[in-house]
């Protein structure tokens, strides 16, 4: 169901994101260039230059300043947008935590890219995963369409007074960022009905002065941090609620925090995030055709982590193959670790096989996915930990 005035175009996910920033009626864009994010901000700068987008493009000298400036824009009561990748996200790290702790309802698009060293401009999810504990809501998207739709939803989620946390919308380098696909671009009026103007809780208001983003000792600090945790937990419900409303208005339904694909009666399930789930769906179909009981769980929200949902689906399978395009060096992939923690206490937990692959843009072709699922099918419940790098 397309809305009446929407248009369909072959565009990259980066252009889809730029369109979303425009449709979100962002006031100020502050960003610093880095491959493969650049075409997002180039497009936005062009929309502004051509008068298609009513916003100001703020020049900054680094990602640290880009995110800080966005916080400043929010403090003044306006809506901001920024985008980055890899080293840029790493360079923002201090301010990422600052923004979340200060409850700044920001939206950032991260075009996920590997992190140096070794130097690489190609894609994996190490950059985003390394920001896991900064307090941002992190949502991984699969397509250009989902990226566009999630940016619009991200503003609703972040600015919801029950949440007031920053949202990082993640998309995969090149597979999404530089690949054209058919994307439906909603019309402004419909977006306006979905995403109202920013209604801030507190600003730097000269008529009603507040000290904001202050310091706190002991019990005050603990109190605010508990509130932050509560907000992050509430965000899970808000993500679902906003997704449902988005589906009703725009006709594209995102199934909340995770998306299960053919998990009913599955013995082995692949858990993955991002663009790789597109291929995985085809692999599941092929293997199902061969009579193999396999399924896919696309984890959309990495933070807040959908513990209950994952517990429910994982408790029904014999084994889980977890594909991580990242690694917590010295342990294992982050999704595998978090999934295991979510399953703690199950009387008969599934075997969890962790595969690390798709690093620095390496393809994860259907054969590799089949290999992972076959290995999971052959595993017994409660088998010893399995960690395998699959790119070589």
């Amino acid at each position: 169901m397309a809305t009446e005035m929407s248009t369909r175009k072959f565009i990259t996910a980066n252009e889809a994101v730029a369109q979303a920033a425009k449709l979100a009626r962002v006031d100020v864009v502050a960003a610093y260039p880095i491959t493969p994010q650049t075409s997002i901000v180039e497009k936005i700068a062009k929309y502004i230059a051509d008068g298609e987008m009513d916003a100001d493009y703020l020049k900054v000298e680094s990602e640290h300043s880009a995110l800080t400036a966005c916080m400043g824009v929010r403090m003044a009561g306006a809506r901001a947008f920024t985008s980055t990748s890899s080293q840029g996200l790493e360079y923002m790290h201090e301010m990422l935590a600052y923004a979340a702790g200060g409850r700044y309802p920001l939206v950032l698009v991260n075009v996920c890219r590997s992190v140096a060293l070794p130097w690489s401009i190609w894609g994996d999810q190490q950059d985003a995963i390394q920001q896991r504990d900064t307090g941002w809501i992190q949502i991984f998207t699969e397509t250009g369409q989902e990226a566009l739709d999630m940016v619009l939803q991200a503003y609703r989620i972040a600015e919801d007074h029950r949440v007031l946390l920053p949202v990082m919308v993640c998309l995969d380098s090149f597979i999404q960022s530089h690949t054209e696909e058919l994307v439906e671009i909603p019309d402004q009026a419909t977006v306006d009905s979905f995403l109202p103007r920013y209604d801030p809780v507190v600003t730097l208001d000269v008529d009603n002065p507040y000290s904001i983003s202050v310091g706190g000792f002991g019990k005050h600090y603990a109190h605010w941090r508990e509130e932050q945790q509560e907000a992050a937990e509430k965000a899970a419900g808000v993500i679902v609620e906003v997704g449902d409303e988005f589906g009703r208005i725009f006709g594209r339904h995102y199934r909340g925090l995770i998306e299960e694909y053919r998990c009913d009666g599955a013995e082995a399930v692949l858990f993955a995030m991002g663009a790789v789930t597109g291929t995985a769906r085809d692999v599941v179909d092929e293997m199902r055709d061969e009579g193999k009981a396999v399924g896919l769980v696309k984890v959309r929200a990495f933070r807040p982590f959908p513990v209950e949902l994952l517990r429910k689906v994982a408790s029904q399978v014999k084994a889980a193959a977890v594909l991580d395009r990242d690694c917590s060096w010295g342990y294992e992939g982050a999704l595998a670790t978090d999934l295991k923690a979510a399953l703690y206490g199950l009387s008969s937990p599934p075997a969890i096989l962790n595969f690390i692959g798709g690093l620095a843009g390496a393809d994860v072709p259907p054969e590799r996915m089949k290999y992972m699922l076959e290995k999971a099918l052959a595993a017994e419940r409660g088998t010893t930990p399995h960690l395998e790098f699959i790119d070589r």
């Binding site: 006031d27 100020v28 502050a30 100001d56 703020l58 020049k59 900054v60 000298e61 680094s62 640290h64 300043s65 880009a66 800080t68 400036a69 966005c70 916080m71 400043g72 824009v73 929010r74 403090m75 003044a76 009561g77 306006a78 901001a80 201090e94 301010m95 600052y98 600003t203 730097l204 208001d205 000269v206 002065p209 507040y210 000290s211 904001i212 983003s213 202050v214 310091g215 706190g216 000792f217 005050h220």
Partner: protein, 283 residues
């Protein structure tokens, strides 16, 4: 500006600042000039340390604590946000220390000046990282001991010249000031507030705790700095530097140095060398 014109109302009070703190004085004077229609960004420094801890609230104007390196970029963003909301009349003020300006914050400051949004950046310079316990910064002067340049060693490089650094950005307005000359400072704040673009004021604020002098001598030490030629009161406007105050008397630098514990180790030869440098700069 005349003394009788100074705003009576206090917008900054009940901080935990040390006795004789000139940085606290600089904040008070700044808000007296700009009034209620101003907002303040303060990064990690003495002022935030003595002002920001909930439920304490010494600022009677909107105030936010910012990350160390982020003062100027926050100012730039706030200014951009106010512009979008049609509130360009509000003064956005950054209040950062010497390390927050000349060291960790210099990149963001350079970027924000280059960006060109309207804000007033005030560097209060007490010549070391004071709230963390007197560690040297890029603005610690030659010859000073700090806890990271302890005796028998001492800071072996001159202060960075921040005024020339910001002037090199073709900033619309910049100035130096000293807390011992409040009218000169306040006039500069007033002037900065009337500029539609980035402005920079660098105010020397003597620190009894870090420099080692009695708290009741803060004003006198600042005067000695200016009268000895260690610090100059100048302005940069329309591409030119101008002296705004020439001291009526000239004092030897030895008096200024002898009054502070941080310079006590200097030999007569070293003091003479410092005097020679000042004399050379004067000519």
């Amino acid at each position: 500006m005349k003394l009788k014109d100074i705003e009576k109302e206090e917008f900054y009070r009940a901080s935990y600042g040390c006795a004789g703190c000139a940085a606290v004085l600089a904040v008070r004077l700044t808000i007296k000039v700009l009034g209620k229609n101003s907002v303040y960004v303060v990064p990690a420094n003495c002022i935030s340390t003595v002002s920001c801890y909930y439920p304490q609230a010494p600022f009677f104007v909107p105030f936010t604590v910012m990350a160390f390196a982020a003062t100027a970029s926050a100012c730039s963003g706030i200014s951009a946000g106010f512009k979008r909301r049609g509130r360009e009349d509000i003064h956005v003020v950054g209040f950062s220390g010497d390390g927050g300006t000349a060291d960790i914050g210099i990149q963001a400051l350079s970027g924000a000046i280059d960006c060109g949004n309207k804000f007033i950046y005030i560097c209060y310079d007490n010549e070391a990282y004071m709230n963390t316990g007197i560690q040297r910064s890029g603005l610690t002067p030659y010859g000073a001991t700090t806890t990271t340049t302890p005796s028998p060693c001492f800071e072996n490089r001159p202060k960075k010249d921040m005024l020339r650094i910001v002037a090199a950005h073709d900033i619309p307005y910049a100035a130096t000031a000293c807390s011992s000359y409040p009218l000169d400072y306040m006039e500069k704040v007033k002037k900065a507030s009337q500029v539609n673009g980035p402005t920079y004021i660098h105010i020397l604020t003597p620190c009894p705790t870090g420099w080692g002098f009695p708290p009741d001598e803060t004003i006198e030490i600042g005067r000695m700095a200016v009268e000895s030629g260690v610090w100059k009161l100048t302005e940069f406007e329309n591409g030119e530097f101008r002296t705004t105050y020439t001291p009526k008397r000239s004092r030897p630098v030895s008096e200024y140095l002898a009054a502070q514990a941080r310079f006590r180790h200097l030999s007569p030869e070293q003091v003479a060398a410092i005097q020679k440098e000042i004399d050379a700069a004067r000519d």
